[in-house]
């Protein structure tokens, strides 16, 4: 197996995996989508009743949106996650009570008129849990409206709910294999014009495949070609794999964690089979 990294930024990764098969890459894809854990707000407590500020003016704890909408919006805010220092709340020594090793608390205290952004979430405790993407609008408050919220984030996986999904837009495609029978080709250019990805080009009175990595196997070129000289097929052993993250984990972390989970699974399998052999 050979891996070429086409792109690797904190929130995006694109790799070419050769000498592989779709099942393997799909296993990886499914793992990073639904099994890689991350932190997300799971519990939101709203203050009910009037909220006073320092000056003694009373605000109503109400907003244009219903509490459940606000809670849902907060749950989708990407919360920075340190996979090494957190464990699932249900498996924590606190017995699910919530403690610094399984939860992160945030507070949100805003008085209208204003727009509440994700950056207004104040982590209780370490500053490193401050939300990085601080301009996600949550709600707009009018005069005399205020919000006082305590939110708890905990670890979870995308399988439970997509708020715990770290990897987004995960997909892959087979590498394009385009064959042109130059002997019969009349260089009509119709295939070049119809190709949406600029894969084909004309060079030296010949149609050449300039960017096979861009081909989506859409077959537009073969359909338009009257002489039938182009053949497009995908190569299932060479796969371009890409995904993005929501920012709570980096792309690299996601990939490594995903591989680790797979590894652990196979490890358990091997142990079990090992036991059988004994």
């Amino acid at each position: 197996m050979k891996i070429d990294i086409l792109e690797m930024t904190p929130t995006k990764a694109e790799l070419v995996i050769s000498d592989t098969n779709p099942m393997f890459v799909n296993a990886l894809r499914r793992t990073i989508v639904s099994d890689v854990p991350k932190m997300a707000i799971d519990n939101v407590e709203f203050h009910l009743g009037p909220i006073m500020d320092e000056g003694g003016t009373a605000y109503e704890s109400i907003s244009p949106l219903f509490d459940e909408i606000l809670a849902h919006r907060l749950s989708l805010v990407p919360v920075p996650t340190d996979l090494d220092s957190f464990i699932y709340r249900s498996k924590c020594s606190c017995n699910g009570e919530g403690c610094p090793s399984c939860t992160v608390m945030y507070s949100l205290n805003k008085k209208g008129p204003c727009t509440v952004y994700s950056g207004d979430l104040e982590p209780i405790g370490s500053e490193k849990f401050r939300v990085k993407d601080d301009l996600i609008p949550i709600v707009k408050l009018a005069d005399d409206q205020a919000l006082l919220i305590y939110a708890t984030a905990e670890l979870g996986t995308g399988r439970q709910h997509s708020r715990w999904q770290a990897a987004l837009g995960a997909g892959y495609r087979y590498y394009g294999k385009i064959e042109i029978d130059h002997s019969k080709c009349d260089v009509g250019l119709s295939c070049v014009n119809v190709c949406p990805r600029g894969v084909l080009a004309k060079e030296d009175k010949k149609i050449v495949v300039r960017h096979p990595e861009n081909c989506t196997l859409c077959n537009a070129c073969t359909e338009v070609c009257d002489t039938g000289v182009i053949k497009v097929s995908g190569d299932p052993s060479k796969i371009i794999f890409r995904f993005e993250t929501d920012g709570s984990l980096t792309a690299k972390e996601v990939l490594i964690k995903g591989l680790k989970i797979l590894e652990e699974r196979f490890e358990t399998l091997r142990e079990q089979i090992g036991k059988l052999e004994e």
């Binding site: 999904q165 997909g171 989506t216």
Partner: protein
């Protein structure tokens, strides 16, 4: 031309027809000749009172004094006409509320909605008492309250009624509306009665006062009939004339049984001379013989003893004998007078002065019948829109108010006469009963039962979404009964083009009877026909002396006014005057070449549509107009005044030749090669000679093409998209769809959830929905701009793939991405408001909001009240389930007198308000206020989050509806090479048989829109072209046909078939599983039959119907049938007397012995199982005196 449409909507709102009509009804300072004032001017205190607008008291009851009370405006003594410039006597104030403690203050719609009030304003009328000829100072008295239309001139939200030290700007108005809790996109045009919003539905009716001829097939022979729906001041009378087999023309008059020979009737009306009669009928020598025969018939001594009918006296005598035989002479005369003056053609007048006019009119009706028989005239088309009139809110109010006001005045007269004493004098204010008027008006609004016996005129405004509210306000219903077929009436008539939406109509029994207005319409308010008649006289229209003529007959509002010899010139002249503003734009004229008639209409209720005027192949609209419209300098009314655009009714349209497009749009730009739609080119030279010059908007190059406008064109369509209504206008590319699908799409837009109003948090609607993340559609239409769809959307843009998925999307089911749902796709909240009032009962008892104490009858366990506060009300943000108490309330005992025990006081009853069974949610708000009569009123709003689940209904805008069949995790969904996962998977079978090409087109359009970050234009007839979209797809890296290669999310392998995938607007419809889910094991039964109750709301049983029964019979499962139909339904055990001569139901008496109460037998009594319904049948027959005996036998 969209500039025109934009200009129109800058001036008028989508519900302008209602507000304008209501404003015409209202008396305001700038509108002295209002319909309300006219009603007052023409009111009659009693039916036989000659003078109008005056109450004349009976001198016998006023001790001989002659007392007149003038309520209408002063009349000219000679002509008897009301001086139109006289000061109005009636006035309407602004909406106010009178509290129980006597204080009054301005009322705003939101307060009315919240407090269950009527949004109504006081009506004041000026009474001038004239006692023995001495006129007293006028007295201004409150006579009742008038429901006020929101956003009408009297509404407190109207710009003119906002108190400010300066002229309020639009910004001020908006600010004010927000302050008053209003939604800025609310169109108004409805009323608030008892806190609920009520819309008046426009009625479509046959045009009154026209002669309609038709052929009736009866018993194999065709019968020629003419009908006239004569209408005056709300009174409708159908006069019918038919030709009998023997050639005799007879007339049926309402209130007179039987038929009257035409000639007799004409003679009785004063047309004595036979020659005159002949002339007023015969238009063609061929008719002469029939008319002769008719005249001769009258002279038949045998039929009309003693010596035939020659003179008016003869005729009247005949009528007297026919309709009032054996009565006193005086009564007979009166009866005939009432028939020929009141019942016969009342629109021509109801005094004896009008008799000659009626006679001439009858002659004309006879002529029409004879012409029909001779084939010189065609049957009138009842479904032609020229023969239809609309009754809008103002007209309906007029009908209702006239009746209520006449009642009030009658009552006032009675009260004054009864209470008159010379000493005390007379006080109008103490004799009048304003409640009489108010209640009459409110009752009609609250029940929808209008005067004239029409039901469902006022309806609860549909607030499901903004579109449903708008569409409801633009609805037009036909009075035809929905149970009969009425095929022709349901069909789309060509004259509805541009007036009524061809697609928006309900499916099923109301199909084609309930219609909706097209986007731009105007309903005429009516102008005075005298002006037109004077003008016609000036232009040389001659009086009619006889019907036989070659000259053109000129009709105004169905009345034959005169003859003219140069019809073409006359019509041209009148049109020119109208276009130059010398004549009201409401006047429409048509020259009917076939019948050689000129038809002029200026009455009210004509549905008209705007058209650009074209002369000599050029529009009157020029480049300057377009530029002025763009810079907002030109107003719609200016264009009408200039004669660039005019309103055309269905009659005048018959005389027009209308071009749909001014030019063709070339497929491709000659210069830059872009695929062009109508939008991409600019018409450089409208109104100019020569070829049409088009400019490509993207490159600026110009092209010259042939103009489509020819010399014989009279008009050009404003923009073809305006033929659709507001709901069909929402469908993108409707011209690519099969028509029923557009109809279904329009119907479903009205059921879609979205942001129905911006004040949803304070509105106290009984049920309402709000979508959490509504989006504007990526593929838009121009119509959306004018109906505020951009600000009140109802739907979301879904990524949709068309493929099958494990069979879970068979039969229109849809497969949804669970992860998308978890991220907020298709979420909505359902809100229900519960209300309770501390009612007061006669006897000083009242309800109380409190936690019922345990000794209250029917009190629940303490736990049920644990959520309530001390005041008996629940707190906000409490979680509640079905059956939980929201408002603790007790009521006084139901029957006070029925006291069982004199020592203990009777217990109060528990009447708490609980959450509906099967519903749950959080308490959103609790509102405590005071109702109009001073008692406390509570409204509790409960909200429930609705996340899409299995069985919820979704639909695109093309009538493609389906329910969720499976929610799939993201990783199991198919994905594209870019990692894109569809939100929704629909089945390929949904497309071909339905022919919803626009659905496919919208998907690729949405794909381009989301890639390029712009809104696509899918407006009917002018949207972006398919070619341009294909081009754009390639530009954005997609295959030109929208297909993509996808990979199976489960196996990871490439899916061999290419998958069509795109972005399309989907709507969540309000049919959700959580509102329908229902099971029952045991539950309530009906008291009468003891069978399980019906319906979910009553926790009813599921019906085991006939077909289910047949199925079990087929299986031979007899015991199952018995179980379902007897044991689990209403099976009971009865004791039956086994005495073979008795067989009555026996009883188990108190001592525990079995006994037959009829024969006294107490040994042979058997227990029998029957259904309770059977026992009920026995008892019912018994009550009729039928002895029901059951003959028992042993089982064999």
């Amino acid at each position: 031309m969209r500039e025109l449409v934009e200009t129109y909507f800058r001036e008028r709102s989508v519900v302008n027809h209602h507000t304008a009509s209501y404003n015409d009804f209202l008396p305001t300072i700038d509108h002295p000749n209002s319909r309300m004032q006219t009603i007052v001017d023409n009111v009659r205190a009693s039916p036989d009172e000659a003078d109008r607008g005056i109450i004349r008291l009976d001198p016998d009851r006023t001790e001989g004094k002659i007392i007149e009370i003038r309520i209408g405006r002063r009349r000219d003594e000679k002509t008897g006409r009301v001086d139109p410039s006289a000061r109005p006597t009636i006035s309407v104030g602004r909406p106010v509320i009178k509290e129980a403690n006597g204080a009054t203050h301005d009322l705003y719609p939101m307060e009315a909605r919240l407090r269950n009030l009527n949004y109504s304003a006081p009506i004041h009328l000026e009474f001038t008492i004239v006692e023995d000829g001495i006129e007293r100072e006028p007295e201004r008295v409150h006579i009742g309250d008038l429901p006020v239309m929101i956003q009408s001139k009297k509404c407190n939200l109207h710009k003119d009624n906002i108190d400010m030290d300066r002229e309020p700007t639009d910004e001020d108005v908006r600010e004010f509306h927000v302050k008053m809790g209003e939604d800025l996109c609310d169109p108004g045009g409805y009323f608030i009665i008892g806190g609920t919003e009520r819309a008046l539905i426009s009625l479509e009716d046959l045009a009154p006062n026209r002669v309609m001829v038709e052929m009736n097939e009866r018993y194999g022979t065709s019968l020629h009939v003419a009908k006239v729906f004569s209408q005056k001041e709300g009174y409708r009378a159908l006069t019918l004339m038919e030709k009998k087999k023997d050639g005799i023309l007879v007339v049926s008059v309402p209130a007179a049984s039987g038929q009257i020979p035409l000639i007799v009737l004409m003679k009785s009306l004063g047309m004595e001379s036979d020659e005159e009669i002949y002339k007023s009928i015969v238009s063609d020598p061929q008719m002469a013989n029939i008319v002769y025969a008719n005249i001769e018939e009258c002279q038949n001594k045998k039929l009309y003893p003693p010596n035939g009918i020659y003179t008016t006296e003869d005729a009247i005598l005949f009528l007297e004998r026919k309709f009032a035989t054996g009565q006193a002479k005086e009564y007979r005369a009166k009866k005939v007078e009432s028939i020929i003056d009141r019942s016969l053609l009342p629109h021509l007048g109801d005094t004896s002065d009008a008799r000659m006019k009626k006679s001439i009119f009858l002659g004309r009706v006879a002529r029409a019948i004879l012409e029909l028989e001779l084939g010189k005239r065609k049957e009138d088309d009842k479904d032609h829109y020229a023969n239809k009139r609309l009754k809008l809110a103002g007209d309906l109010m007029e009908d209702l108010y006239r009746v209520a006001f006449t009642n009030l005045i009658k009552d006032l007269k009675y009260q004054l006469e009864r209470g008159y004493t010379r000493k005390k004098g007379m006080r109008i204010s103490s004799a009048i009963r304003p409640d009489l008027l108010t209640h009459r008006l409110l009752h009609a609004f609250a029940t929808g039962n209008w005067v004239g016996g029409r039901a469902g005129v006022s309806q609860l405004l549909d607030r499901t979404s903004n579109m449903s509210a708008l569409s409801h306000l633009r609805r037009v219903t036909s009075p035809l009964t929905r149970s009969q077929p009425h095929f022709e009436a349901r069909d789309l008539h060509p004259t509805q083009w541009g007036r009524l939406c061809p697609n928006e109509t309900p499916e099923g029994q109301n199909c084609g009877l309930v219609k909706n207005c097209a986007l731009i319409i105007d309903v005429s308010e009516g102008t005075d026909d005298k002006e037109v008649i004077w003008l016609l006289r000036d232009l040389g229209v001659k009086e009619v002396s006889e019907q036989q003529t070659t000259e053109t007959r000129v009709y105004v509002n169905g009345d034959l006014i005169g003859l003219h010899d140069k019809p073409k010139e006359l019509v041209e002249e009148i049109r020119q005057r109208r276009r130059s503003g010398l004549l009201s734009h409401e006047v429409n004229i048509r020259f009917d070449n076939n019948m050689n008639e000129i038809i002029i209409n200026c009455d009210e209720g004509r549905l008209r549509r705007p058209l650009l005027v074209v002369r000599h192949g050029k529009t009157l609209m020029t480049r300057r107009h377009i530029e002025d419209m763009r810079s907002h300098k030109a107003k719609w009314s200016d264009l009408i005044r200039e004669g660039v655009v005019e309103w055309i009714d269905a009659e005048e349209e018959e005389d027009s030749y209308i071009a749909v497009f001014a030019h063709e749009t070339p497929q491709k730009c000659e210069h830059c090669g872009k695929f062009l739609s109508t939008l991409d080119v600019e018409w450089r030279n409208p109104g100019e000679e020569g070829k049409t010059v088009l400019e490509c908007k993207s490159c600026g190059g110009t092209m010259q093409i042939e103009s489509q406008l020819k010399d014989n064109h009279t008009h050009l369509e404003i923009d073809p998209m305006v033929i659709l209504g507001v709901c069909s206008g929402m469908v993108p590319y409707p011209e690519h769809n099969s028509s029923p699908r557009v109809t279904m799409g329009a119907g479903m837009a009205k059921q879609s959830l979205g942001l129905s109003s911006s004040n949803y948090r304070i509105r106290p609607d009984t049920r309402s929905h709000v979508m959490h993340y509504p989006q504007r559609s990526l593929t838009t239409t121009k119509t959306m701009e004018f109906v505020n769809f951009m600000h009140r959307p109802a739907g979301q843009n879904f990524v949709v793939a068309i493929m099958s998925y494990q069979g879970y999307n068979m039969e229109d089911a849809i497969v949804m991405n669970k992860s998308s749902v978890e991220r907020g796709l298709g979420r909505s909240t359902f809100m229900r408001t519960y209300r309770a009032e501390e009612r007061r009962y006669p006897g000083g008892q009242e309800d109380h909001f409190e936690i019922p104490s345990p000794d209250v009858r029917g009190a629940r366990a303490d736990l049920s009240y644990s959520n309530l506060g001390e005041d008996g009300l629940i707190g906000p943000e409490t979680r509640v389930e079905g059956g939980d108490v929201l408002i603790g309330k007790t009521s006084p005992p139901r029957f006070l007198e029925e006291e069982a025990d004199f020592l203990t006081p009777q217990k109060r009853r528990e009447t708490s308000v609980t959450v509906r069974p099967g519903e749950s949610g959080w308490v959103d708000s609790v509102m405590l206020t005071e109702s109009e009569n001073g008692s406390r009123l509570v409204k509790v709003k409960v909200r429930d989050q609705r996340i899409p689940e299995l069985g919820d209904k979704f639909a695109s805008r093309h009538g493609q509806k389906g329910v969720v069949g499976l929610l799939v995790h993201q990783e199991d969904m198919p994905f594209t090479g870019d990692g894109l996962i569809p939100d929704l998977i629909i089945n390929p079978h949904a497309i071909p048989s339905r022919m919803t090409v626009a659905h496919v087109l919208e998907m690729v359009g949405g794909k381009v829109g989301s890639m390029e970050g712009r809104f696509m234009d899918g407006t009917a007839f002018s949207g972006e072209t398919e070619e341009a979209i294909r081009d754009a797809l390639i530009r954005n890296g997609f295959k030109h046909n929208g297909n993509e290669v996808m990979y199976d999310g489960v196996t990871g392998r490439k899916i061999e078939a290419e998958i069509f995938i795109g972005v399309i607007y989907y709507q969540k419809l309000h049919h959700m599983v959580s509102g329908k889910l229902h099971v029952r094991s045991r539950g309530p039964v009906q008291i009468l039959t003891r069978q399980p109750t019906e319906g979910r709301s009553r926790q009813g049983g599921l019906r085991f119907g006939e077909m289910e029964r047949d199925c079990l019979i087929g299986h031979g499962a007899a015991m199952v049938i018995k179980d379902r139909l007897l044991d689990e339904s209403d099976g009971t055990l009865q004791y039956v007397c086994g005495n073979s001569s008795c067989g009555h139901i026996a009883i188990l008496d108190r001592r525990g012995t079995l006994r037959c109460p009829v024969c006294g037998n107490n040994s042979k009594i058997y227990q029998v199982q029957t259904s309770y319904a059977f026992k009920l049948l026995l008892d019912e027959l018994l009550s009729l005196g039928v002895a029901m005996r059951l003959q028992l036998e042993d089982l064999k």
